[in-house]
Amino acid sequence: MTFERVTKRYADGTVAVDAVSCEIAAGSFVALVGASGSGKSTLLKTVNRLVPPSDGRVLIDGADVSEGPAWQVRRRIGYVFQNVGLFPHLSVAENIALPLKLERRADPARVDALLDTVELPRALGRRMPAELSGGQRQRVGVARALATDPGLLLMDEPFGALDPVTRDALGQAIARLQRERGLTVLMVTHDMAEALLDATRVLVMENGRIAADTSPAALMRGEGGDTAQGLVAVPRAQAERIAALATGGLH
């Protein structure tokens, strides 16, 4: 996947994404981190055309995503976002099967397999979305995004609304899936700890530009510049305080 000078300028003149260029190799897990309003979410949405760029272009396997109808591009890309957006009038199984139905290749066995993948009991398929917990709903959202077996998964703060335990478990599950299936994952998060633990590459965004492009290990070594290190400092300081707590150092 390639971003070529991708720019998003709104009618009021604000620039959300400012001429971003970068290459993402197939099979990598890339975290997009940055403060609110840094343009990370907007950049992600230019990939599946939920946001059309004002300038520049996005290529997948060398093909410009802006060619052809939007729905055609979107069916090849899994999309998971914070508010999940399960269809409230459809059961869990119907929600998961919907992308397959659009492609006219419905397969009941596939729904069970997807429920297994996201570690949900198969019996849940008959429930309605309103009957599920937040974590269960997000797992269904992931299962729906994986239904057509896409090579690329876009995640927009996927676990932002979940409690820390569920959040950690889901993050690890996604990282495992990504490794096992060789998925390319682009995940927007404001949580640097999540980015460091799950991703293989971290892009730090600031004011619509990429301020740092590096690996989690390099970030931990103190590389990547001030903005990136400012973000890394938070989980690091938390970890140190917790460690100190365990040894009784603070008291």
Binding site: G85, L98, L102
Partner: protein
């Protein structure tokens, strides 16, 4: 009671046809408009504002307003647009049905969780799939509630279409109110309510089917509604041809009786007769000129002041000749002749009260007016005659209240009014021991009952031959007695029975 319900099926059919046509037309306008409004808040402000504004116009007035509008449109396009009957009723009811449909559609569409719409885009739905698989199912319950409200409103308001000459169950209600035949009123109300509940139930069934994904239920209900509408419209296909005549009547007993008297004669002459009862006084002449009705009885003074805008008061025979000339030359309307009696505006008071106050003429009344309360019929205070009377006899009453004719007499009887704008052929004047006041300055024109026919009937000799025997035949005493048979409180006669009695009485 049986008599009252005998007219229900035919009127209910016309009623249903009108309401369903208005509902379908309203859906055709409101669904795209609501869809558009939900996406553009500025459009929503305009469409919802307009639809709300329409709702604030009383439905009776909205119906009446289409008469001048359609007359004007007809004039602009060079004629041919009917200003009375089905078209104005359809348009008014359609406008009336817009608000609940648009509002609920906008509420439903804007209420869909944006995350759900984002997900629909995200999984790669085409706009059509998004509509079919997500938006329609989610908006359906709210939108259907609006459609059902609109259906019930439309069926209720359709009763008012009687006033613009479109037959409906309102015919029974209006006729019943005017003649105080309460069984007619009940028959009309109960039938309209049953119709509304039936349609609402079928729409509810259709909604239930859609929600539970039982297509047969939805289609069954829709087909049942469509079939009922088609069945209701079958009598209209058979209609037409010169042999079907429509007799108009304004909204009081004498008019109902005379319409039946005319209708009976035309039936015997081989015509199929239909009635348009309860026409507003102002629209009746327009209806005969436009051919929407074939014949009706009006009063010389009404045409003189209302249509010809004349304020002078010539002798009665001169006036009738002038009207005959004018009607033929200006509007093509034929005047068969005077029926032989006058139904003039006559100010009436309780006999004992008039004697005690020493009032015998309009001049006496003017002098005493500041202490008196006037009761008038619904249109009198706005008529040219009232202006002419006040020019001749400057009067200012303590209060002036409009009543429907029946209640106007009640108001005088109970003392809520001291003087009323009565009608000289009314049987209640004698029965209630009222006195009518004289008009020494001749401000009130003559009100000879005159028989008017539509332009297309002025050459129909068989038609005219059936009506000519009525000319000069009906004296005021006979008319009063016939009117009283319908208006009295006990042992009431139907207008049909009173018409048969009157025919026998005057030897027709």
């Amino acid at each position: 009671m049986g008599d009252a319900f005998a007219r229900v099926p035919a009127l209910a059919a016309q009623h249903l046809l009108l309401a369903m046509c208005a509902l379908v037309l309203a859906l055709g306008v409101a669904l795209p408009l609501g869809w558009w409004s939900a996406r553009r808040p500025r459009v929503a402000r305009v469409t919802l504002g307009f639809a709300s504004l329409v709702q604030t116009i009383p439905s009776l007035a909205l119906l009446a307003l289409f008469y001048p509008v359609l007359l004007w449109v007809s004039g602009v396009v060079g004629g041919g647009v009917p200003a009375l009957g089905f078209l104005p009723a359809l348009l008014a009811l359609t406008l009336y049905a817009l608000l609940p449909i648009i509002r609920n559609l906008v509420t439903g569409l804007t209420g869909i969780d944006p995350a759900v719409l984002e997900a629909a885009d995200g999984v790669g739905m085409t706009p059509a799939q998004k509509l079919r698989l997500v938006e329609i199912p989610l908006v359906l319950p709210v939108a259907m509630a609006g459609i059902r409200t609109a259906a019930v409103w439309t069926i209720g308001a359709a009763t008012l279409s009687t006033t613009v000459g479109q037959p409906s169950l309102g015919d029974l209600i209006f006729a019943g109110l005017q003649t105080q035949a309460w069984t007619l009123v009940i028959a009309g109300c109960v039938s309209a309510a049953a119709l509304a509940l039936g349609v609402d139930a079928l729409l509810g069934l259709a909604e239930h089917g859609a929600r539970t994904q039982r297509g047969w239920l939805t289609w069954g209900a829709v087909v049942a509604l469509a079939a009922a509408t088609v069945v209701a419209s079958t009598p209209l296909w058979a209609r037409g041809g010169d042999r079907v005549v429509v007799i108009g009547a304004k909204n009081f007993s004498e008019q109902y009786i005379l319409a039946r008297l005319i209708g009976d004669r035309l039936t015997r002459a081989g015509y199929t007769v239909q009635y348009r009862d309860g026409l507003g006084s102002a629209v009746a002449f327009g209806a005969v000129a436009g051919g929407e009705i074939d014949a009706y009885v009006d009063y010389a003074g009404t045409i003189w002041a209302g249509e010809m805008k004349r304020a002078d008061v010539p002798p009665r025979d001169v006036q009738v000749r002038a009207i005959t000339e004018w009607a033929r030359a200006k509007r093509g309307v034929g005047l068969v002749g005077s029926l032989g009696f006058e139904n003039a505006y006559a100010f009436a008071m309780r006999g004992d009260d008039a004697r005690r106050r020493g009032i015998a003429s309009l001049a006496d009344l003017a002098a005493a007016s500041p202490q008196l309360k006037l009761g008038a019929d619904l249109e009198f205070l706005d008529r040219a005659e009232w202006a002419a009377i006040r020019r001749a006899y400057p009067m200012r009453f303590a209060a002036a209240t409009p009543y429907s004719p029946t209640f106007m007499y009640r108001a005088l009887e109970s003392g809520r009014a001291d003087v009323i704008s009565a009608f000289s052929s009314d049987g209640r004047i004698a029965a209630d021991r009222l006195v009518t006041l004289t008009d020494p300055r001749r401000a009130i024109p003559g009100y000879d009952a005159i028989l008017l026919v539509a332009p297309k009937r002025t050459k129909d000799q068989r038609f005219l031959a059936a009506l000519r025997p009525l000319v000069g035949r009906i004296n005021v005493a006979a008319m009063r007695e016939a009117n009283y048979m319908v208006d009295r409180d006990a042992n009431k006669a139907t207008p049909e029975a009173a018409a048969r009695w009157l025919a026998a009485k005057v030897g027709l």
